[in-house]
């Protein structure tokens, strides 16, 4: 945690220059993957120009599509960032997303907008259940959420009677397909606005609140956190609750886009994309180090890659292979660059 509590600087201090340099290095670390994102974008644009002569990637319309594609993953990634910062993992977010979406759609059929609340509550409750098992029974997060991955998938199917749930008149469909018109000049899709608000909220919590410091502390050294009076179980309960809640929000976004949800298929392997976004963002897998902006960039890298490969007409099979290779390659590059300066 290079950018800590102690950011204000006294002017004229001899340590001033060094402190400034250190802050720059901290900033550099948190934007570490930004160059990769930019290079990737330019590469897609260049290849498209070369192959088709069109250069379709860098258009407002396409960039907006990329951002929308990244939005749900960014929301899940924000929750995952909290969890991974404490040294944990949440494998259940894809399943929670599916259960929430199904629940939201079912409730919306009779109660309209209350569907949003239903989806969020389902996410939060499952998240807290994960958190309670991890915090109070001291079970390993990997095992608890691996179990939840399967069990909650079953709950999603059960809720929808193992069929696809529809609502053609979804009252909150604007969330998935509408856009906010700003002074008649620009219109920003609601998916992007929601994702951005979530990221800013997560940043505020991590950097400006006591809870944020405690999250870093628990991930940095759990036994020291306990001994120094931090209520570790509360912190764990919060991060898994937050991850569940945000997965519920992801469910709302997904349902609003599709007007439908299938408990079996929706959100399959979304947890892996969310984890990939966090790791691409430079957050340490053992906890204690990382930033939410990195996660945003990580989610964008994945979206650019997916969008670019489709744009370039790469076959589905090769998309998988290339995506996996880029994730490993980008992280390897990052580790090489930061050699010796941080753990895992």
């Amino acid at each position: 945690m290079s950018e800590g509590l102690a950011t204000p600087q006294m002017p004229g201090d001899p340590a001033d220059a060094r402190a400034r340099e250190r802050r720059w290095r901290g900033l550099f670390r948190s934007i570490g993957m930004l160059p990769v994102l930019i290079v990737l974008g330019l590469l897609v644009q260049g290849l498209d120009l070369w192959l088709t002569g069109e250069g379709r990637f860098l258009s407002w319309q396409n960039l907006s599509i990329v951002a929308q594609q990244a939005s749900i993953n960014a929301v899940l990634g924000a929750g995952m960032t909290f969890v991974i910062l404490t040294g944990g993992i949440d494998l259940s977010v894809g399943s929670i997303l599916a259960a929430s979406a199904v629940a939201g759609l079912l409730v919306s059929q009779n109660f309209g907008d209350l569907g949003i609340l239903a989806a969020l509550v389902v996410g939060l409750v499952i998240g807290f259940a994960n958190g309670a098992l991890i915090a109070f029974l001291r079970l390993p997060p990997f095992i608890v959420t691996l179990g939840a991955l399967t069990a909650v998938r079953g709950i999603a199917r059960l809720l929808g009677n193992d069929t696809t749930v529809f609502n053609a008149n979804l009252p909150f469909a604007f969330i998935g397909n509408g856009a906010l018109s700003i002074a008649g000049v620009a219109s920003v899709p609601w998916l992007i606005i929601i994702a951005f608000l979530v990221i800013v909220g997560a940043w505020l919590i991590l950097r400006r609140t006591v809870l944020g410091v405690h999250i870093y502390a628990v991930g940095g050294n759990e036994s020291a956190a306990r001994l120094s009076g931090i209520k570790v179980s509360r912190v764990l309960l919060f991060v898994y609750g937050a991850s569940g809640l945000l997965a519920g929000l992801g469910g709302v976004m997904q349902a609003a886009r599709l007007y439908a949800a299938n408990g079996l298929q929706l959100g399959q392997s979304y947890e892996l994309d969310a984890i990939a976004a966090v790791i691409l963002g430079g957050t340490s897998f053992v906890g204690g180090i990382g930033s939410i902006w990195g996660t945003l960039i990580g989610a964008l890298i994945i979206a650019v890659l997916t969008n670019g490969l489709i744009l370039l007409g790469v076959s589905d099979v090769w998309q998988y292979i290339i995506k996996g290779a880029v994730i490993i390659g980008a992280v390897a590059l990052d580790r090489y660059r930061l050699r010796g300066s941080a753990r895992t």
Binding site: P8, L211, V213, G229
Partner: protein
């Protein structure tokens, strides 16, 4: 310098330096070891003994310019394997055995005999039996190591070293966890190994052991080489002077008024945890520095953690300022004004990736925060600056990562965190462990100052001179119980002998 052992030295170190970020751990150290000698390496904590031995065993690389010779030939020890190949074996304080494997598997680890693709267990068992028998071990090769006592595990380490045909054996404080009888047997073993021509580098704090065992003594201080004494020159006073580099009386600070007659602040009675602690009781007074002495394993840390709410008690009472308390968590203890400094600052105390500022403020950010939520960064920054100035923490600013600091400065950061909560009672567990001499005496001054301001302080320490130097009164723990007390208004004198006798379970004679 006398030349005790004849012939060519087996190991020669010259110009060995080691720099870590922010601290020079070794400065141009030299050492000469002969075959068939027990060479004691002494020095205060933080003097550089462990760093030097980690260089010898290949765990650290020295700074460029170091010269290491074995049998007169220059060598490069670039890893533990290289050290092993050169015949160097090291037995660390924390034993490096796999507790889930058998004795034979541990001894042969990495060198398993094979028959085809399979491990040749029969050959392993037979090979170990010989070595174990020659060491006089009472256990067989098939026993799982986790079931052995610490002394027996040490024997396994020695067996492993012998099996690897090591000629230089480094032992880092091997007797800390041993009983008197086990120590005797270890010494007999060391003498036998010595007679067989092994060179033994023996790291210890205990003067008596060194006096009994060592052929020569080399002393390090603050990362530098001070000198080497021959057998005839080994005298406690000489060694202490070499280790400390100044008079002991100016080293400890005891300016506060003896607080052992003050009002009781912390009263502990019949405290037990069902494991290590049995019926512990003592009283700590306002303005008092109370020492808690005892051997390693006597239950001192466990007792402290019980009081602090980090463990669950099974019996007994604790009163804080007269009111009974039973803290369910450290958070409750801190809120009541009782803090605990852990003996293991890296594993249990500090957040090494976080800044000095965050580490200092961690206990109080909740109190300072607006609505208990939003961080008050300006306040935190000012507090960190204050602490850095008051405790002379050598760091360029609060934003530096704590992991980059030296042990002494890390300890002061941790102390600053405790003091930020403005505690009334402090339990300090080995407050100067792994701290250099300068920081040590500053920590003593901080403790003295706190007592003067009326805090009640319990100091747990394994270093007797430290306890004798700073405490008003000392209670001694033995096998989970407080077995005696020295000092205070009319108790027996606070001497190392009196404390040691109690710690070993011997009753004190009534003072005449």
């Amino acid at each position: 310098m006398p030349a005790p052992a004849e012939g060519q030295p087996i190991l020669t170190l010259r110009q060995v330096s080691k720099t870590f970020p922010g601290v020079k751990a070794l400065r141009s150290v030299q050492l000469t070891i002969y075959p068939g000698e027990v060479h004691a390496l002494m020095g205060e904590n933080g003097a550089g003994k462990s760093t030097l031995m980690k260089i010898v065993s290949g765990a650290y690389a020295p700074d460029p310019g170091a010269e290491i010779r074995i049998d007169g030939k220059p060598v490069v020890i670039d890893g533990p394997q290289a050290a092993q190949a050169l015949g160097i074996a090291i037995i660390y304080q924390e034993l490096a055995l796999s507790p889930n494997l058998t004795v034979a598997e541990n001894i042969y680890l990495g060198r398993e005999p094979r028959r085809g693709l399979a491990i040749d267990r029969a050959a392993m068992t037979a090979g170990c039996r010989d070595i174990l028998a020659s060491l006089g071990a009472s256990f067989g090769p098939r026993v799982v190591v986790g079931e052995l006592s610490i002394a027996e595990q040490q024997m396994v380490e020695v067996a492993r070293a012998l099996h690897a045909r090591s000629r230089i054996l480094v032992m880092d404080e091997p007797t800390t966890a041993l009983s008197a009888r086990e120590t005797e047997r270890l010494f007999a073993l060391i003498r036998r190994l010595k007679a067989e021509g092994l060179a033994i580098i023996y790291i210890s704090h205990r003067m008596a052991e060194v006096y009994e065992l060592a052929d020569r003594v080399s002393v390090l201080r603050d990362g530098g080489y001070v000198g080497t004494l021959g057998r005839d020159e080994i005298k406690p006073e000489t060694i202490v002077r070499m280790m400390v580099g100044r008079d002991l009386s100016s080293f400890y600070t005891k300016a506060h008024r003896d607080g052992s007659g003050g009002a009781p602040v912390l009263e502990v009675a019949g405290l037990a945890d069902g494991k290590r602690v049995r019926r512990a009781q003592f009283t700590l007074h306002r303005g008092e520095v109370l020492g808690l002495a005892g051997l390693v394993g006597a239950g001192r840390t466990e007792l402290a953690r019980l009081i602090y709410g980090a463990e669950t008690r099974t019996a007994g009472t604790v009163r804080l300022a007269g009111k009974p308390v039973a803290f369910a968590s450290p958070a409750e203890a801190i809120a009541a004004g009782l803090v605990y400094l852990t003996e293991d600052r890296k594993a249990q105390g500090l957040f090494l990736d976080m800044s000095v500022g965050d580490n200092i403020n961690l206990g109080v950010i909740g109190r300072d925060a607006a609505f208990g939520v939003w961080l008050d960064r300006a306040h935190a920054y000012a507090r960190a600056r204050d602490a850095i100035a008051t405790f002379r923490i050598r760091v360029s600013g609060p934003e530096v990562t704590v992991g980059a600091l030296s042990g002494g400065n890390q300890q002061k950061v941790l102390l600053s965190r405790l003091l930020a909560t403005e505690p009334k009672v402090l339990i300090l567990d080995e407050p100067t462990r792994g701290v250099d001499i300068g920081a040590k005496s500053e920590i003593y001054r901080i403790i003295d100052d706190l007592a003067q301001k009326g805090a009640a302080i319990l100091v747990i320490s394994s270093e007797l001179p430290e306890i004798v130097g700073i405490a008003d009164r000392v209670v001694v723990m033995h096998e989970g119980e407080i077995v005696g007390e020295v000092g205070g208004v009319d108790g027996p004198a606070i001497t190392e002998e009196n404390i040691m006798a109690l710690a070993a379970g011997v009753a004190l004679r009534e003072p005449a």
